[in-house]
């Protein structure tokens, strides 16, 4: 059975090592061994480790071999077949189930081989130092956060996601990936070895990911802290080695130069777009430059945007993206794309004139497209929804809540005329009394209109008995904290005269907050479909511009409605948040933006990606662990019995279940069956109502239960386990299995539906839906591993031929201990009369189910999990 060897590398600094070990040993370490590599310590480390004998294994090296060689020594000493986790001795394990959640991330996809986690620094207030990083070939400074900044902890990056590289302060390495990568490259003494390893892995199709569900503390460079100049020399040497190997290659990975003309300060919308997209385009192979459209005191707040601003690009780069009308005329590229949005029903004459110089104009929604068309723009215009950054905007963003439990409306005011904060305050006071548990939190954004907004609000009549209004004035916040204000509130009010793109509106929905917005402009559709729309009447803003005046009575009514129905509306907003964010993901927007920039034919095609890594690619024989997967009523018992007659051990007779519908036995271990039942129940479901998600504790308990079962089987390889519920749960067992083989048993979904209807009273539609869910989950779990497909019809029609085929296939995978089938034994086992129910007249299958069944019958299902949604390389979760 597979376990995990946790390798802690230590050199002196015994107090740090002791602190690390104490917190590590106090966490949940199922199936894991702790191996401390003492890298030639000269302090009390050897004596200190002796006190941990029995709880940790120690490998003492004669002298300090450096980080890389020290870790490689640990890898060599790790238990064979174990996954390994490389650990620095200045980590503190503040999360008890960190290892279980790393395992979840490691086995979520067969291509994953390296897993890191979120790391906070030593500060009490929580600062994020690592969420997975990158290195740019320009300056070769590895960054450990996407923004290259140390950010305050705001629960950013909570999902599993693919990254270019992780820091090896903590690195989970899957055994099958390690077999292909080899150890750390000893060309590096310390530093850069982690990025090098991740890049080498990527060339083999092995993905590095960060498990957003794991957050630990890291004190940074504990062991070398006192060595000043020595560390600097190590860094310089490693950097030179890295540059020699990777700089040219990383540069060659770019498809071409793209210059982003825009802003980092004002207009704020353009600045946000630069921060959202410049780094994403760089990750997608576009070498980004940045030029401010107007003179500004730059404030990128993002490392790649800073780098883009410093880069030298050719005079006319392959493509240009001009963000905002002021940038259109400056777009300097062989293919010029604009990103435009305005506040009025018709774009300004200046914007329209400037747009004519573009090859393609992208706008965030239909309102903006119509605005440019009304202004006579004939440049091709396409809608590119801008999306929400799910890494920073989600319902779990932490924020202080109103200390007296009042319902909080949040509004932001940047421009007095456009944002109408005075109208909102007046309406809010009309809607509520001061003694009601509700308030309006209004942030006056720093900018040229701040004084005017302040003055306009001060000019409103004093109303101490009316709704309470609080101002946040004179404050500016780092961009990474933008969702915290939303999280501190219950509802976001984006009721304005202007119809321009308001990024906070969609972000509020992604954070599970109620949205109130004007039924005009870019937010109109969001307000109608996902929030509370406030009516508005056309308003002439002068100089031929029209926007809309929010209707005061409608606003008052919506404010009251949001408050009076707050529980229902908040519950609905929370329930819809994840789905909304998935459907409006900024990563999809970035993909489309790349397509738009490539359409001019001035960018090189992307470098072909290597084939995705699969555990089956590792040239080691299967271990003799066999999982039989198949939906209920699909003949899995027959196949399990057939395997048993090839010499595969299924357990002792007294441990196996026997039921009235299968008098010869199910070949299901009772303890395994019980473990599956408990696992589904712990997640709030059962076999007929499979739960969508499971708490980590349920998964860990399931693994512990099944590990007990596997321990009894291990001495008797080859062995099999079989339980239809394993279709849904097999993936969770992958960290325990050493080179398993999967035997998939499939049966015509109509026949399965008939049988379930007859035996369990399940409706046909429900049964077909279950068939699809179980079957998809089963093939998804085994994707990338050695597997065999068995059709139940084959079991009944040609059991001997099937048995011979299985014997040949399993032996081909390297399973030992099998013997050829005995015909007489098989005839005694397979009785065609045991066929469960006959198929009723065929009802049409839905498209997904039909596609899955077609892929199974055509054998294509073993190529990839047919019917599963395509996986994007840039995100997980």
């Amino acid at each position: 059975m597979r376990g995990t060897t946790l390798i802690v590398l230590a050199w002196n600094q015994w107090p740090l090592t002791r602190r690390c070990l104490d917190s590590l040993l106090a966490s949940e370490l199922d199936f894991a061994e702790v191996l401390v590599v003492d890298n030639g310590s000269e302090d009390e480390t050897p004596d200190g480790l002796a006190a941990y004998a029995g709880r940790v294994r120690t490998l003492r090296l004669p002298r300090n071999l450096g980080f890389v060689r020290g870790m490689n020594a640990g890898l060599a000493a790790a238990r064979a077949d174990d996954d390994v986790v490389l650990l620095n001795n200045d980590l503190v394990f503040t999360q008890a189930d960190w290892l279980g959640r790393l395992r979840d991330a490691a086995y979520a996809d067969p291509a994953t081989g390296i897993v890191g986690c979120r790391l906070l620094g030593p500060e009490a207030e929580g600062r994020v130092y690592h969420v997975g990083g990158y290195i740019e070939p320009d300056d070769l400074h590895g960054q450990q956060t996407e923004s290259a900044h140390v950010e305050r902890e705001v629960a950013q990056y909570p999902r599993r996601r693919r990254v270019q590289a992780i820091a090896f302060a903590l690195a989970y390495l899957r055994r099958d990936a390690l077999a292909r990568i080899g150890g750390l490259d000893e060309a590096f003494h310390s530093y850069f070895e982690d990025t090098d390893c991740c890049l080498r892995a990527a060339d083999l199709g092995i993905a590095s990911v960060v498990a957003g569900a794991v957050t630990l503390r890291h004190d940074q460079h504990g062991s070398t802290q006192d060595d000043g100049g020595f560390r600097a020399r190590l860094f310089a040497d490693s950097r030179a080695a890295f540059a020699a190997r990777w700089r040219e290659r990383l540069c060659a990975d770019y498809r071409g130069d793209v210059l982003w003309h825009g802003a980092t300060r004002f207009p704020s919308g353009a600045a946000e777009l630069a921060r959202l997209f410049v780094r994403r385009l760089d990750v997608r192979g576009l070498r980004m430059g940045f030029a401010a459209a107007t003179r500004e005191c730059g404030d990128a707040q993002d490392g790649r945007l800073d780098l883009a601003a410093r880069r030298r690009l050719p005079a006319v780069p392959a493509a240009a993206l001009a963000c905002g009308e002021e940038a259109f005329a400056q777009a300097r590229g062989r293919w010029r794309v604009g990103l435009g949005f305005g506040d009025w029903e018709s774009a300004s004459p200046g914007a329209a004139r400037a747009a004519r110089s573009l090859d393609l104009l992208l706008v965030p929604d239909a309102f903006q497209r119509e605005a440019f068309e009304r202004a006579g723009v004939r440049t091709p215009i396409e809608v590119l929804p801008l999306g929400v950054d799910r890494d920073y905007c989600h319902p779990e963003v932490p924020a202080p809540r109103q200390p007296h439990g009042r319902f909080v409306f949040l509004a932001l005011a940047e421009d007095l005329a456009r944002d109408a904060p005075d109208l909102l305050v007046e309406a809010f006071r009309a809607a509520f009394r001061a003694d009601q548990p509700v308030e309006l939190l209004l942030q006056i954004l720093p900018g040229r209109d701040a004084l005017a907004i302040r003055a306009a609000l001060a000019a409103l009549p004093h109303a101490p008995d009316r709704g309470r209004v609080r101002l946040i004035d004179g404050w500016g916040f780092p961009w990474h904290q933008r969702a915290q204000l939303l999280a501190a509130a219950d509802a976001y009010v984006g009721v304005r005269r202007g119809g321009g793109w308001d990024p906070r509106a969609a972000e509020a929905l992604a954070c599970g907050r109620i949205l109130l917005a004007t039924e005009f402009g870019s937010q109109a559709a969001l307000a109608r479909e996902h929030g509370l729309a406030v009516a508005a009447a056309p308003l002439d803003a002068g100089r031929g511009r029209r926007w809309a005046e929010p209707d005061r009575d409608s606003l008052v009514a919506r404010l009251r409605e949001a408050f009076e129905r707050r529980e229902v509306l908040l519950a609905a907003a929370r329930a819809g948040a994840d789905g909304f964010a998935r459907d409006h993901d900024v990563e999809s927007s970035a993909d489309r933006l790349v397509e738009a920039l490539a359409r001019g034919g001035t960018l090189s095609p992307p470098r072909p990606a290597p084939p995705a890594h699969r555990p089956a690619h590792v040239a080691r024989p299967a271990s003799g662990q066999i999982l039989v997967l198949g939906m209920h009523r699909s003949g899995t018992s027959s196949v399990a019995g057939l395997l048993a007659r090839l010499g595969v051990y299924a357990g002792e007779a007294q441990d196996l279940l026997i039921g009235p519908d299968n008098p010869k036995g199910h070949y299901e271990l009772a303890r395994l069956h019980g473990a599956c039942l408990r696992r589904l129940e712990a997640a709030g479901g059962d076999w007929k109502h499979p739960p969508a998600h499971a708490p980590g504790a349920a998964i860990d308990a399931f693994r512990r239960d099944v590990a007990e079962v596997l321990r009894t089987l291990e001495p008797r390889r080859p062995w099999l386990i079989k339980e239809p519920r394993l279709c849904l749960l097999a993936r969770e067992l992958l960290p325990l299995l050493t080179r398993p083989v999967f035997v998939h048993v499939v049966r015509d979904p109509h026949a399965v539906a008939d049988s379930l209807a007859a035996r369990n009273g399940v409706t046909r539609d429900h049964a077909l839906a279950l068939w699809r869910q179980y079957t998809q989950a089963a093939f998804e779990a085994s994707r990338g591993w050695p597997r065999v497909l068995v059709d139940y019809a084959e079991v009944l029609a040609e059991p001997l031929a099937l048995a011979q085929r299985l014997h040949e296939a399993l032996s081909g995978f390297g399973v030992e201990g099998l013997h050829p089938p005995d015909a007489a034994e098989l005839r005694a086992w397979i009785d065609p009369a045991l066929a469960h129910a006959s198929a009723s007249p065929r009802l049409a299958l839905d498209a997904q189910t039909q596609a899955l069944w077609d892929a199974i019958r055509g054998g294509r299902i073993l190529d990839e999990a047919a019917g599963a949604p395509p996986r994007r390389a840039a995100t997980g979760g």
């Binding site: 924020a399 202080p400 109103q402 004084l451 609080r470 916040f477 501190a488």
Partner: protein
């Protein structure tokens, strides 16, 4: 601020014998005052701008730095301040 404005600011500062940053500080000080500014008051503020205090010089120095992020606050502190102001 547009390029046109910075050119005007620079020209005006030169006429007044001030650095642009000093002029910007003086303008910020005058902008806070209600109503029209009397010529004497304007002369006094401009004269002060030419001989800034340490604090004023510090403020002007901030305007000249390229990094604005140091001036950014923290949402937690801002909310705590807002909710402390009960009334």
């Amino acid at each position: 601020m547009s390029e046109f404005d910075t050119t005007r600011l620079d020209a005006l500062a030169r006429r007044l014998g001030l650095a642009p940053g000093q002029l910007a500080l003086a303008a910020a000080r005058l902008a806070r005052e209600r109503g029209a500014v009397e010529p004497r008051r304007r002369r006094d503020v401009l004269a002060e701008a030419a001989r800034p205090s340490a604090a004023a010089e510090g403020a002007a120095a901030l305007l000249r730095t390229p990094v604005a992020s140091f001036a950014l606050g923290d949402v937690d502190r801002a909310l705590a301040a807002a909710w402390r102001a009960e009334g």
